[in-house]
């Protein structure tokens, strides 16, 4: 009874749109959500044949391969450091966590307009200036791809704190008796981490990896706000959702192709998540 309203909300605002989107992906649905012309797998084939869409998928597989482990390691490291801190632990915890409360859009604009603006007064270029290095137009160049530096630093700044808190919660749940037993056996430092902390964090690690993975493929906010320039988005570092937004789901209103692209993306996330679970064998023996 109590969950009734939530179930209704879930069905109406989550499941119906998902099912509707799958339905639309099999139809010619320009400017309509009640299409009549069935095209079978046509939209899917069109999307898979579209070199721009394929390239955005590939880019984001590569992006995930990089960003998932990087965020994982940095947030785990931060959690371990904060957990060991005896003084001002809650201060450090808050400081690392604070960026999570910042809007992606706001952060993106600060990164774009203040830190990595292309002129001498931008923070990054001012620092380079101290060493006599010419200003770099970070976001204008396609080669070398400095834009990744801007995006990755913004993303890490925004996300590390959140995953750190997850790890911290996991670390604090580990029974002190395990550490005591290890101490009696003479284990310390890396050995404790290797044989106690990390294995005990298995469930947390599984969840974090999955969240990171989904997050990487659903990237939109900071990419859009950092790289889009007034109506266009460069053909590189373009997340699949941004591409779909420009060609199908924005003013284009091509819901057939847009939905097909979204379903393809979902399938990729699902497959990679399953493969990741199998390969890493995380969660199998979790708590």
């Amino acid at each position: 009874m109590f969950v009734g309203p939530f179930v209704i909300g879930l069905v109406v605002f989550v499941y119906v749109p998902i099912v509707w989107s799958i339905y639309l992906s099999f139809f010619n649905a320009y400017n309509t959500v009640t299409p009549t012309e069935f095209v079978g797998a046509g939209n899917y084939l069109d999307m898979l044949r579209d070199p721009a869409f394929r390239s955005s998928l590939l880019t984001f597989v590569a992006f995930a391969v990089f960003i998932v482990p990087t965020t994982f390691v940095i947030s785990l490291g931060a959690a371990l450091l904060v957990a060991r801190t005896r003084v001002m632990q809650s201060f450090f915890r808050s400081v690392f966590f604070l960026p999570t409360a910042c809007s992606y859009v706001v952060a993106a604009l600060i990164w774009k307009m203040s830190i990595f603006s292309g002129i001498r007064s931008g923070l990054a270029n001012a620092v380079l200036g101290w060493f006599g290095i010419d200003s770099v137009p970070w976001l204008s160049l396609a080669d070398p791809p400095w834009y990744w530096l801007v995006i990755v630093t913004a993303r890490l700044w925004l996300q590390v704190g959140f995953y750190m808190i997850l790890f911290l919660a996991g670390i604090q749940r580990i029974s002190p008796t395990l550490y005591e037993a290890a101490a009696i056996d003479g284990a310390e430092g890396w050995k404790v981490f290797r044989h106690i902390t990390f294995p005990q964090l298995r469930a947390t690690s599984t969840a974090v990896l999955l969240l990171l993975l989904v997050n990487a493929f659903q990237a939109f906010d900071e990419f859009y706000n950092i790289l889009s320039t007034f109506g266009t988005y460069p053909p590189y570092a373009r997340p699949p959702l941004v591409y779909l937004y420009y060609t199908a789901l924005g003013s284009g209103q091509d819901f057939g192709h847009g939905s097909a692209g979204a379903v393809i993306l979902t399938l990729i996330i699902a497959i990679v998540a399953v493969v990741q679970g199998r390969v890493l064998r995380l969660g199998d023996r979790g708590e």
């Binding site: 749109p17 859009y224 590189y236």
Partner: protein, 443 residues
């Protein structure tokens, strides 16, 4: 996008601030409203159901919902509410829509919760027309037809039928600092090669010669470059218009500027803001007419205006022009009343049009006969700009140029300008996307 001419402040502040959540909300909303239109109670039709509702007039019991995007200039909202309140034949409820206006309006047209009268950048899209979401407004123009800016009106017309009434004209043009050109001994360039030479001379120390946007003009200058070569996105018969060596040559010129390191890149505020020019980061900038008040404030009279030059003797100089057009939704409960209101406000009420164009932001009235009455456009650079808009104004992109074509073209421009890709090879890729799209929309 074809609406890049329009209302820069607000697009900068809001248009680019799209988040994934609002994208999903939008896609989800479109899907859900299709299924649940009957269940929705917040249809925007009740007074004050949507942001900034203002009910005006009295009239015959007909209520019309009119949508505007959120203009950045102070007083604009009060002005349109005042015009609506003065209309006697219907009650007009103005909705002021912040956020991603184009997308949310397009989505709302799929439902019964949409507006009766709404503005849209450069008129409705071809898909809206083909989908019969908007109605033909040709007969509203009457004798005034020839008075509207011709290239804008053409942009809002498909197969002889006009689907939107232009509200105000915005334009982009090349602005330069006279004193910097004088000092370098440069005269305003008449061809693209002269422009490149001038930009080289003007690039000194921390000052760059030319600013075409932080992407080196990839997003902004594609159209003007095609026109400067005497070409266009589409030929007169609606076939692909720039599979031509001259197009390759013209687009390659942007790469030449990039390689010569005369372009300003990475300015804190992009081309649609005057600050790069007024702060002395660049000597010449391609920007919008809307920046004139800021330029005047920063530079006084130390600036001149010109069109984007021709490639050579057989090309054409041009300035891109755009306009929000007032459209009538086919789902309106009273299409005739909605059309009557559009005719009243955007064809007949010339004093309101003049007020709307000149009293708040810096725009050009859509009706050329009003330009002479606009005190803001009476003399100096503004008068020259208004004349350029009428004489060599070129609508940004043709109505058949869909978002998909636009994305493909933007990709090609990025590769040509930033990566030095072969222009003809890139044009071929655009053609491969554009031809099936043209076939689809013309079907």
């Amino acid at each position: 996008m074809s609406d890049q001419n329009l209302d820069p402040t607000i697009r900068q502040a809001l248009g680019s601030s799209l988040t994934r959540r609002s994208l999903f909300a939008l896609g989800g909303a479109a899907a859900v409203t299709g299924a649940l239109a009957a269940c929705g109670s917040n249809t925007g039709r009740e007074p004050a159901a949507t942001g900034g509702g203002a009910t005006g007039g009295g009239g015959s019991g007909v209520t019309l919902n009119q949508w505007y995007h959120q203009y950045g200039e102070a007083g604009t909202q009060q002005a349109v509410e005042k015009y609506a309140a003065a209309y006697k034949d219907a009650t007009v409820k103005v909705s002021w829509k912040p956020g991603d206006y184009d997308q949310s309006t397009a989505a709302s047209l799929l439902t019964d919760a949409g507006p009766d009268v709404f503005e849209y950048g450069n008129g409705p899209t071809i898909d809206m027309i083909k989908g019969k979401q908007v109605v033909d407004l040709t007969d509203l123009l009457g004798d005034a037809k020839d008075d509207f800016n011709p290239s804008i009106l053409k942009r809002m017309t498909y197969e002889g039928k006009t689907y939107a009434i232009p509200q105000v004209v915005d334009m982009q043009l090349l602005v330069y600092r006279k004193s910097m050109l004088d000092k370098a001994g440069v005269t305003p360039p008449q061809t693209i090669d002269e422009l490149i030479a001038a930009a080289k001379k003007l690039t000194q120390g921390n000052v760059k010669g030319l600013f075409l946007g932080n992407d080196g003009g990839a997003g902004l200058m594609g159209g003007p470059m095609l026109w400067s070569a005497g070409l266009d996105y589409l030929a007169e018969d609606n076939t692909f218009g720039f599979d031509d060596p001259r197009a390759g040559q013209a687009l390659g010129k942007l790469r030449e500027m990039w390689d010569a390191k005369v372009l300003l890149l990475g300015a804190p505020k992009d081309w649609f803001d005057a600050s790069a020019l007024t702060a002395g980061l660049t000597a010449m900038q391609f920007t919008g007419l809307w920046t004139f008040p800021d330029i005047k404030k920063g530079l006084g009279d130390d600036f001149g205006v010109m069109a984007w030059p021709a490639l050579d003797g057989s090309g054409k100089a041009s300035v891109p022009v755009g306009a929000y057009g007032s459209c009538v939704s086919a789902k309106s409960k009273d299409v005739e009343a909605a059309k009557k209101f559009v005719k009243y406000l955007w064809v007949d009420q010339t004093q309101d049009q003049l007020d709307f164009a000149t009293a708040y932001g810096f725009h050009i009235p859509a009706r050329t006969s009003l330009i002479g009455q606009a005190t803001t456009l009476k003399d100096g650079q503004a008068a020259e700009a208004a004349k350029l808009a009428t004489d060599v104004g070129h609508a940004q992109s043709p109505i058949l140029w869909t978002p998909k074509c636009n994305t493909a073209f933007g990709d090609a421009m990025n590769r040509i300008v930033k990566e030095g890709a072969d222009p003809m090879g890139e044009i071929a890729k655009v053609k491969a996307v554009a031809e099936p799209e043209l076939k689809r929309v013309l079907a």
